[in-house]
Symmetry: D2
Subunit: 246 residues, 4 copies
């Protein structure tokens, strides 16, 4: 039997403490709801929040993390550059990353993408319908060809990210926009899944399809044991080279 | 516990019957060596050969196959168009396909690619060194950053296939060429891995790295349970549309 | 000064002859409207229709074509297999292809894709809003970040094609669906652009954005002079190989 | 007639001033040789070097630059972070970037990629053979299916960059390695081409194929006039949304 995948759910955990509509829906924080759901999928789960020392993402925590789930929004400028570097190194080394909703505006995600990650947005609690565009992808196992969120914040294109490697989910919004809502990237040995929904004052993370997709994406992003460690630096020739004349 | 993945290894099985150098190395056929290796990886394995009725790839066999491993070379024109259509449908429906060596010249593979699949080639039993270019890919679990085949047939670029979705392996040849030796595609719900090595008169399929890669690729290409079945055809609106005036 | 790009606009030209709503909008055929628009963009344009000998796509015509624009729908089964093969060869050799609307259901396009090319669809003359997802692409020069077609046939996902190389345009439909409406592929040396809109009984091809996109796509798909011709087949080594012992 | 493309060639210009083997081959600097070649291709060319104020890359210079060609190596840590940010913004806004050789180790390139950009390397003046893998790409117009550099520094895989959007060129090295030597990326509206060769003490930039590829890549990376400017931020609905109940 293989070891369970070790997940750390990071949440900024600001709105739920300072903004009544968020607190009402996520009294223990978005991370608590996501962590509870992931535990049901047999993952080994811990949480981290921004107010903790080193944002709860110490070397030890990260070294014991296979996949990091990330939610942040308004305190991105206060997030430690040093911790960003630390997480970034772990991702290049193989840790998976699941970026939720406004986590796309974090220092970490911008550093991974190399772009502004800018979006259109609207808080009108409108309907979002999410379509599966990669019907054989492990991330959509158990998900129907589309599902609806009756009320969500809108994110609209153009989403300033590099062209994704895989386009798994696409959103239709009632107000007239579309958005690439489930996309994947590779950075170093790390696999990244970006999943759009999840406004802090709406019950999106209780939605079973949303929970399923996050759980599937953790399994997809987890590092594969035994893959080769690239060897960088000065290298001896593998074939004989002609002698150079002095 | 999930059910074991069901693999069918198809081999043209002509050279091993008619060409002494191939028979000497693969007395029971290339398929026998590959099948034996796959069984060691806990797959449920059967074989099929071109001389069997319907080339051993009946509706029943294909319906009971999660991943089809394919080797062919010289009898491609004699392969039944009807069976090609049948396999093609199963791939679109989710069956995985592993195309080995000259299997890239088959009707089936050309139909899947939409191109000529033409290559450069040379039978000089030269050295091939295969480099990993996607070091986090499940197909290279347990494989070093490169490995060597002391004697192989050369395939050289340009390989007339669509740009692959993933470039996993790249070959260096002693005679001066390079080749995209491990590449992936999606067709419908089917996942396809193309793996270059495997000349019929060389012991390539006994190489442990080659065996490992084929075994890994079977796991990677197997359909994921519960992914959505796309619904095609005439569709009712999901949102109210304005009444049209007569 | 370089020579003008030579375009051939192929149209099935059946509906406009047999179906009053199509005839009313395109009395001389869809091809006539597209050809007139392309001439305004300084292309050298000819047309071909299915009722002509060899569907108007003789060897001579194809050899004198840099980019083929394609509209077809209902007579796809009657289209000559031989002419499909001929066009296919020219595409692999570098001729560009622009596939419009239901042209995605043609033998030619299915042969190029290797998939069923199946879609969802609905004829409800609903609103379509087309979003630019690749804002630096030459195909969208002169196009705003989105534009609307007040009435169009709906095509919905899942669209059974391989993952596109570039996703340029994405449609939002009033009835609730999304669709990858502007996508690109490479097959051999040929570049392919698929552009969704263009129902036969709606005035879509008079829309200036639609005309602009088709014109841009022709420029994008035209072969680039002087690119290398791949050399296939048996190849001499470029480096000395060790002598083999008898 | 359209305006000429405006190119700025940036060179660190350290080795040519401090290292005799580099000075001997590029007495006026690598930038001078590249700029002279680009002028022959009808581009409007200026140069910039690291020792200039703001490294020669002021707001004015960048605003007047369509494509930036970049060579750097040993002084990357001394390059101004502020200027990196400035260049980065211009690239997202549409300026093209051609990254040469060890320019892949610059702050700028790492910021664009989101990875370490680490490589294998060897200075043994060995033979490099560069193969075309995208024979219809405008970057290889006028280039044969392969060409050789008799002496070059080796760069070997794994090259820690995101999977490229296009793989145009692949290198074979005499010492046994392979390398993705011509690759493309999109960041924001900017197009990026990475071209491997060009060791400072070897005459690579006098090679006509190398010069041709750089010149072609400038044409390819130049922004296309009239492409849409994405609108980011808070957005009004484009469709009527249901009134929310208080």
């Amino acid at each position: 039997m293989s070891n369970p995948i070790r997940v750390t759910v990071f949440n900024e955990f600001h709105h739920e403490n300072h903004y009544e509509p968020a607190r009402r829906i996520y009294p223990d924080g978005i991370h608590a709801v996501i962590a509870a759901s992931l535990k049901e999928h047999s993952y080994e789960v811990q949480t981290a929040t921004q107010d903790q020392p080193e944002h709860g993402l110490t070397e030890d925590v990260l070294n014991g993390t296979d996949v990091l789930v990330w939610w942040s929004h308004i305190l991105v400028d206060e997030f430690s550059d040093e911790v960003v570097e630390r997480i970034h190194r772990r991702i290049l080394d193989g840790m998976g990353l699941i970026v939720l909703h406004s986590g796309t505006q974090s220092k970490l995600f911008k550093k991974l993408m190399g772009t502004s990650c800018a979006i259109k947005w609207r808080e009108a609690d409108e309907k979002e319908r999410i379509w599966v565009l990669a019907p054989n992808h492990p991330i959509v196992a158990g998900v129907p060809e589309y599902f609806e969120l009756p009320e969500e914040e809108m994110y609209g294109e153009f989403f300033d990210v590099p062209p994704p490697e895989e386009l798994v989910l696409m959103s239709w919004f009632q107000g007239g926009e579309v958005f690439r809502s489930g996309i994947t990237y590779t950075r170093g040995k790390g696999k990244i899944f970006v999943f759009r929904p999840g406004h802090e004052s709406l019950p999106t993370y209780y939605n079973p399809h949303v929970q399923r997709i996050i759980a599937n994406s953790v399994g997809w992003a987890a590092p594969v044991a035994g893959t080769p460690a690239p060897a960088f630096g000065n290298a001896q020739p593998l074939e004989p080279l002609p002698q150079k004349q002095a």
